[in-house]
Structure formats: structure tokens, C-alpha cells
């Protein structure tokens, strides 16, 4: 029945009407005429169960789900004026910039009011999932060694045995990846150890990636010994069964990334966007996200239990690293340390 209703059409080519780069697009057909368009950085595969659950509650709404990179999502809304009813992104700083600069519209409901303060900015930007930014190490590479618990441990390993790790360290390229830039800047903000680590990694010919999945593949294949700053949800989903790699939450500090959603100011169907957002934040939506999509629910208790978990706060501080001069300067510093 539902299968018949949801005619699936995956298009991997960019739509001609949109000037930004689209990675994936799929229309989840509903029964009615109402269509809700979502621009997201999260893969369709991960979001499919959530959309299905949403359409069980609201079978009248068709969902047009478009996937793009964090930079492209930001650019589409900020520069292109693309019309979407919900913008979902893991790049908190760019989402914050959109909201601060008036490109989001207000929405208030019982679900949004229930969010903790750190997971919400005004009535415009809402976090629906939290996940740690983790380090993944290959078990083979760390055979007979103690797995590092902190960044200082990691630095010690790299210094003690540079030849084992040379060319086998992977991390995000913040010049190309929005998420990578966010992780790097937040690391730098948290501790100066980050710069020491970057310098050490830079001396060991690190490999730079644009996405977590590629890094995880490389760890699995044994190409990488260490993948630094990987999205926790991806790591869990990929590595749980195999046991070839270990996921580490570094105990000096582990940033918690919030996946956020906002309703763009120019949305054609803002009530549809609001309905989907409320569903994401509802008990059902949160359960489906955690159990079927592998995106951990917003949970203040879990953060309080581990003092080293630091949620990246949704506040105007995030705007600092979006500043072009600041970004330019940070990337120059970073390049000097890592690319060498």
C-alpha cells in the first residue's frame, strides 16, 4: 500500500533550475497535493525512516528531499534564494549565520519549547540530533598498544612511532568541508593541544578528506590507522559490526555536534516545514531518528553524565568563524600547520 504511494525517483543529476550542487534528490509521494521540500546535508538513506514515519502521521504531504553539502546548503539559502520549506544541516555555524542574518522564520510549538537552551536559538534554529565528533583507530595498527584516551596520548603515539603512522592519518580538510571547518575551529577554540596535534599530524603526511564515510572506508581497508574528527553516527553505523576499528571519544574533550533545522524565511510551505520539524522533535520522531537512522536524540542527561562531552553551543559565537577574514586567517594557520 505505502510502497505504491511512495513512488521513488532518485536523481543524481543537478536540477537545472537550481544553481547550487545537488548530490541526491528523492520525492516521497504522499496522497494529497501538499508538498514539502527539504534541503539537507544528511544522506537520504539515513533520513528515509524518518520521512516514512512522518508520512504515516501526515500521509497527505509529499516530501521532496534534496541533499547537498553544508557549503551548498548555506549558499543555496543565503545567496541563491532557493526556496525550501526546511533547511537541515550539520554545519552549525552556517545555520547560525542564516538565522542571525534573518534568513530563517520563527516557529514556536510545544516541541520546540521543550528543547534545552543549548539546543535552540531564538525561535528560529533547532537541534534535532546530537552526536559526538570521534576519533576512529584501526585495531590492527594499535595491536599491542594502548588506545589513546586524550589528544596528548595521540600526540605521544605519533611522536613515539612516526613511521607506523606516516601517511596513515586521516582528517577532514576544513578548506573543503564545512563540517571539517566547524570541527577544526571548535577544537582550536577548546584547547591549544589541537594546534600541537595538527603540527604533529602535518609532519606525518596526513590524508585529507571531505566526508566521514570516505575516512571510515579507509580505516576499514587498513589504509588509515587513525581517522581524527569523524561524525559519531557514521562511525557507529559503519563500524559496529565489523570490529576492525575502535571508536574513541577523547576524554580531554569531545565536541558534540548538533544537527539543526530551520524554516527559511522564503519558504513556500512554512507550515509543512514546521510540521516536519515538530515531528523531528516529537517523541516518535526522536525515537525513529535514534533507532532507525542512527542519529542520537537530543538528550541533556547523556551529556551531563560525561563531563568531557561539550555540546557546541548554538549562540552567536559561532558567527566568528564564518567571518571571511577570520576564516581566511584560520585556514592559513591550519594550512601552515598541517599541509606544510
Amino acid at each position: 500500500m505505502r510502497g505504491a504511494l511512495c513512488s521513488i525517483a532518485i536523481t543524481l543529476i543537478a536540477s537545472t533550475t537550481l544553481a547550487f550542487d545537488i548530490e541526491q534528490q528523492q520525492l516521497f509521494q504522499g496522497q494529497g497535493d501538499e508538498t514539502l521540500s527539504i534541503l539537507s546535508t544528511t544522506d537520504i538513506g539515513i533520513f528515509r525512516p524518518v520521512i516514512a514515519a512522518f508520512q504515516e502521521v501526515r500521509p497527505d504531504i509529499s516530501v521532496d528531499y534534496v541533499v547537498a553539502s553544508t557549503q551548498e546548503v548555506y549558499r543555496a539559502i543565503y545567496e541563491e534564494g532557493a526556496q525550501f520549506d526546511l533547511a537541515v544541516s550539520s554545519a552549525m555555524d552556517l545555520q547560525m549565520k542564516l538565522a542571525n542574518d534573518g534568513l530563517a522564520q520563527g516557529h514556536s510549538s510545544a516541541q520546540t519549547d521543550a528543547l534545552p537552551d543549548w539546543a535552540r536559538w531564538q525561535d528560529q534554529l533547532f537541534a534535532f540530533a546530537q552526536e559526538p565528533v570521534v576519533t576512529v583507530v584501526s585495531q590492527a595498527a594499535f595491536e599491542g598498544r594502548q588506545t589513546p584516551a586524550t589528544r596528548s596520548d595521540l600526540i605521544r603515539h605519533l611522536r613515539d612511532d612516526p613511521e607506523t603512522f606516516r601517511g596513515r592519518i586521516g582528517t577532514y580538510d576544513p578548506r573543503k568541508s564545512g563540517a571539517g571547518y566547524l570541527f577544526a575551529t571548535q577544537d582550536a577554540r577548546q584547547s591549544d593541544t589541537y594546534w600541537r596535534l595538527s603540527e604533529v599530524m602535518g609532519g606525518l603526511e596526513p590524508k585529507l578528506y571531505e566526508a566521514s564515510s570516505a575516512m571510515l572506508n579507509a580505516v576499514e581497508s587498513g589504509e588509515l590507522a587513525i581517522a581524527y574528527n569523524v561524525l559519531g553516527s557514521y562511525a557507529l553505523a559503519r563500524l559496529d559490526q565489523k570490529g576492525a576499528a575502535t571508536i574513541i571519544e577523547l576524554e580531554d574533550f569531545t565536541n558534540i555536534l548538533l544537527r539543526t533545522a530551520l524554516i527559511p524565511a522564503n519558504a513556500e510551505n512554512p507550515s509543512g516545514g514546521a510540521a516536519f520539524l515538530d515531528f523531528l522533535l516529537s517523541a516518535t520522531g526522536q525515537r525513529v531518528l535514534e533507532e532507525n537512522s542512527g542519529l542520537p536524540r537530543i538528550n541533556a542527561g547523556a551529556l551531563a553524565a560525561q563531563s568531557y562531552l561539550r555540546p557546541i553551543r548554538l549562540d552567536t559565537g559561532l558567527l566568528v568563524f564564518v567571518d571571511p577574514l577570520k576564516k581566511q586567517q584560520f585556514l592559513r594557520e591550519w594550512s601552515a600547520a598541517v599541509v606544510q
Partner: protein, 463 residues
């Protein structure tokens, strides 16, 4: 009968209205001042954070070979989120050129004074913002360039805080007002209390009580009470002078009348001339009338005097009634009237002035005998009814001829059917005075079977 007094708005209400007016005024002032203080406190707090953020950015400006290095510290914007979630806009300029930030953000119109922030309100993208601006010169290639840092923030959270403070201020004002209303009510009552207690004390007095007010009164009421006391003492003196005058007059009339009557009796006995005897007899009748009138005037004066200064004692009414009835038996017999004291209970006692009670009863029985024809019947009885002792004298006389009790009990008022009977018109007046003085009442009605029924009610002795 209540006399109509020209009444103006009550002191208590006037006081209350004035106090309430003051309370409203003070509550309003309280609200306004709390709001003003809260507003400016919130604004200052926000301004100082905004200023600190601006200075933090300015302090990170560095000169160099490539130009001015701008390194916005994370805390600069992060601290702006400490009070609430407001939008942040910024602009950094070197000379007239915008280096980074929002280049439509308005520049300050006034000259800047180094790192001391200049605050101003502005509109940006249709939003009201508060802006802080500082200026700093940075050395680039040996040349000092003026760099301006402007940070602006929307004031939504400030408005939220101010609104909640205003709500609290309003609650405070209302609470203050409610307390003030309670206190005003209490104050008004306390202020008026001496007046009301004086009013109550004066009102509680009997109509004959003309003693001066002795109770302590507030200074403001002293002139009024002094005037009242003076008035009452003058009235009292005038009254007693009148009563004394009447009593003395009666006495002075009665004595010569008695002499005159004795002389006339002698003359009657000595005269054989029938015409002269007739004249003397009518003279004696006139003298009797005059003497009786004088006697009753004296008694009335005595009753009025005693009702001012009653000396109450416990009186067994049955004994009193029996005694007095017995004392009238001779005169009844002389007139051929049967005087009967009906059987009654023996425990009817009252607290009353004996002289007053006797005077009333005597007048009632005397009247009854007087207006009852030969072979008639006068019945005296006493019963207790509803907290009162009812002294009743019934006769089989000529009745009231339609007259009402109020008419008959007026001074020197007599019925329309009594020309042939000697009387002063003071008898029932005395009874009525006694009834009033003893807090009782007097009723006189015509009996259906002929004759009159007069009843005096006296409160029973409370047990």
C-alpha cells in the same frame, strides 16, 4: 420621631477617599520608578556587554606588513549571547573601507573616543538594534590607520526582560495598592472611632439624661463636647427650675385653697339661706378642682424629677397592687363602685422606682373610680406577658368616646365626655411619664362591652 439632619459626606468616607487617592498615586509612582530603574539597569548591563565585545575585537587588531590583521575572538560574540539570544551584526572599517562584516550597518555619526565605546540606537534590516563603536589606530607600514569596530545587537531579549520586570513592577504596585487599601480602611476606622464611640455614648442616653459627658475625648472633639455639656447643663438648670417653680406654685396654691375650703365648709354650715348655700357649694367644688389640679401638678413634677434620678428596687407587684387597691377601697365605697383585685400569681417582680410605680397605679385606679358610675365595677389585675408585667385597670365607665391614647395622655388633655367630673387632665400624662421612665409602655383602649381598659407594661426583673 427622628429629626432630619442636614447630612454631608461622612468623615470616614472622605478620609478613605483621600487615602485611596494617595495610595493610587503612590502605587503608580512606585510602578513607574521601578520600571525606570529596571529599564535603565537592563540597558546598562546590555550596553556594557556590547561595549566589552566591541573592545575585545578592537584589542585583537594587529598591524603588519600585509595590512591590518583582524582576529575576532570567539568570546566577543559568545558573550553577547549571555543575556539572551539576540542577533549580532558587526562591521570593521579602515578609513571608509569596510574590511569585514555587514557593510550596510550604519556608522556612528559622532566622533569616536578611542576604546571608550559610543552607544547608539539604529535600524538595520528593519530591526531596531543597539550599536557600540570604538576606534583604534593600527600601525601599518609605519602609517597609523584608523580602524573602527562596530558591533550591533537586536534588543529582543532586553525587551523580554524589561517586559517581565514591568510585569513584576505592576504586581508590586498592585500589591502595594491592596495593602494600602487595607491600611486605609483600618486607619479610617481608627480615626473615626472616638467620634463613633462618643456618638454611641450620647445616643445611648435616655431623653432625660442631661448629665455632662465625662468620658475622655480627643482634643479635636473637646470644643464640641464642651459646647454640648454647656448646652445640656443650661437645659438641665432650666428644666429643674421649671419643675421647682411648678411644684412651689402648686404648693403655694394648695395651702391657701385648703384654708379656703375649710372656711367655706364652715360658712356652709352656718348659712341657712339656700341661695347662699348653693353658691358656697359651687365654690367648694371649684376649690376641690383647683386643689386636685395642684396636687396632680405636684405629682407630675415629682414624677418627672424622679424619672431623672430613679432609685430602683426590687418590687413584688402583687403586693403593691393589693396595697394600693386596698387603700382606694374607702373612696370606691363612698361612690358606690365595686373595686376588685383579681387573683394573680405571686412571683411577678420588677426592678423599678416604687414612688413612680405607685403614682402611676394610683392615677389609674383613681381615674377608673372617677369615671365609673354608681354600682359599676373596677377590676385591677397583674399578669406577666412576654417579658413584661402588665398592670391592668378595667372599669365599666363611660369609655373614651372615641379618643385615642395619644390625645388623652397629653398634658391637660381630657376626654370629650368628662365635663361633669372633676379632673386636671394630668393623670394619664403622669402614667405615661412613668411608663417611659421605667422603659415600659402604656396603652388605653375602650372595652367592647363598655368602659375602659388601661394597661401599664413594666419590664420584668431579669433573672
Amino acid at each position: 420621631m427622628k429629626r432630619v439632619v442636614n447630612q454631608s459626606i461622612s468623615i470616614r468616607r472622605r478620609l478613605l477617599l483621600q487615602l485611596l487617592f494617595v495610595a493610587i498615586l503612590l502605587s503608580g509612582l512606585l510602578y513607574l520608578s521601578v520600571r525606570t530603574v529596571a529599564d535603565s539597569a537592563v540597558e546598562r548591563t546590555q550596553d556594557s556587554i556590547l561595549g566589552a565585545a566591541t573592545i575585545a575585537i578592537a584589542e585583537e587588531l594587529r598591524g603588519g606588513e600585509e595590512g591590518v590583521a583582524v582576529d575576532i575572538p570567539y568570546t566577543a560574540f559568545s558573550m553577547l549571547g549571555s543575556i539572551g539570544q539576540d542577533r549580532v551584526f558587526y562591521r570593521i572599517t579602515i578609513g571608509d573601507e569596510t574590511v569585514t562584516g555587514y557593510d550596510e550597518l550604519a556608522l556612528p555619526t559622532e566622533p569616536l573616543n578611542g576604546l571608550t565605546p559610543l552607544f547608539y540606537d539604529d535600524a538595520y534590516r528593519g530591526l531596531l538594534v543597539r550599536a557600540a563603536a570604538v576606534e583604534r589606530s593600527v600601525l601599518v607600514n609605519g602609517k597609523a590607520l584608523p580602524v573602527r569596530v562596530i558591533v550591533a545587537q537586536t534588543r529582543t531579549s532586553q525587551q523580554t526582560i524589561v517586559a517581565s520586570l514591568a510585569e513584576r513592577a505592576a504586581l508590586l504596585g498592585i500589591g502595594f495598592f491592596v495593602i494600602a487599601v487595607g491600611l486605609s480602611l483600618l486607619t479610617a476606622r481608627l480615626v473615626v472611632k472616638p467620634v463613633s464611640s462618643l456618638v454611641e455614648a450620647v445616643g445611648r442616653r435616655g431623653p432625660q439624661d442631661l448629665r455632662p459627658v465625662q468620658r475622655p475625648v480627643p482634643r479635636e472633639l473637646v470644643p464640641l463636647v464642651t459646647a454640648l455639656n454647656g448646652f445640656m447643663s443650661r437645659l438641665s438648670v432650666a428644666l429643674s427650675r421649671t419643675e421647682t417653680f411648678i411644684a412651689e406654685a402648686a404648693h403655694h396654691i394648695r395651702t391657701p385653697l385648703a384654708t379656703l375650703r375649710a372656711q367655706a365648709e364652715i360658712a356652709l354650715r352656718q348659712t341657712e339661706n339656700e341661695e347662699a348655700r348653693q353658691t358656697i357649694r359651687s365654690m367648694i367644688r371649684s376649690v376641690d378642682t383647683s386643689a386636685r389640679s395642684a396636687g396632680q401638678m405636684l405629682e407630675h413634677a415629682a414624677v418627672v424629677f424622679r424619672s431623672d434620678q430613679r432609685s430602683d428596687e426590687q418590687i413584688d407587684l402583687s403586693l403593691l397592687v393589693e396595697d394600693i387597691t386596698e387603700s382606694y377601697e374607702p373612696s370606691a365605697e363612698m361612690k358606690g363602685v365595686r373595686l376588685v383585685c383579681l387573683p394573680h400569681a405571686h412571683d411577678i417582680t420588677v426592678d423599678a422606682d416604687r414612688i413612680l410605680l405607685e403614682a402611676a397605679l394610683r392615677n389609674l385606679i383613681d381615674n377608673a373610680i372617677k369615671y365609673t358610675p354608681k354600682d359599676g365595677l373596677v377590676e385591677v389585675s397583674v399578669i406577666s406577658a412576654e417579658g413584661f408585667a402588665r398592670l391592668e385597670v378595667k372599669d365599666s365607665g363611660r369609655g373614651l368616646f372615641g379618643a385615642q391614647a395619644a390625645q388623652l395622655t397629653g398634658r391637660f388633655q381630657r376626654g370629650a365626655n368628662v365635663e361633669d367630673v372633676v379632673g386636671s387632665g394630668l393623670g394619664l400624662t403622669i402614667v405615661k411619664e412613668v411608663a417611659r421612665s421605667l422603659n415600659g409602655r402604656f396603652e388605653i383602649v375602650e372595652r367592647e362591652e363598655g368602659g375602659t381598659c388601661a394597661a401599664l407594661y413594666v419590664p420584668l426583673r431579669s433573672r
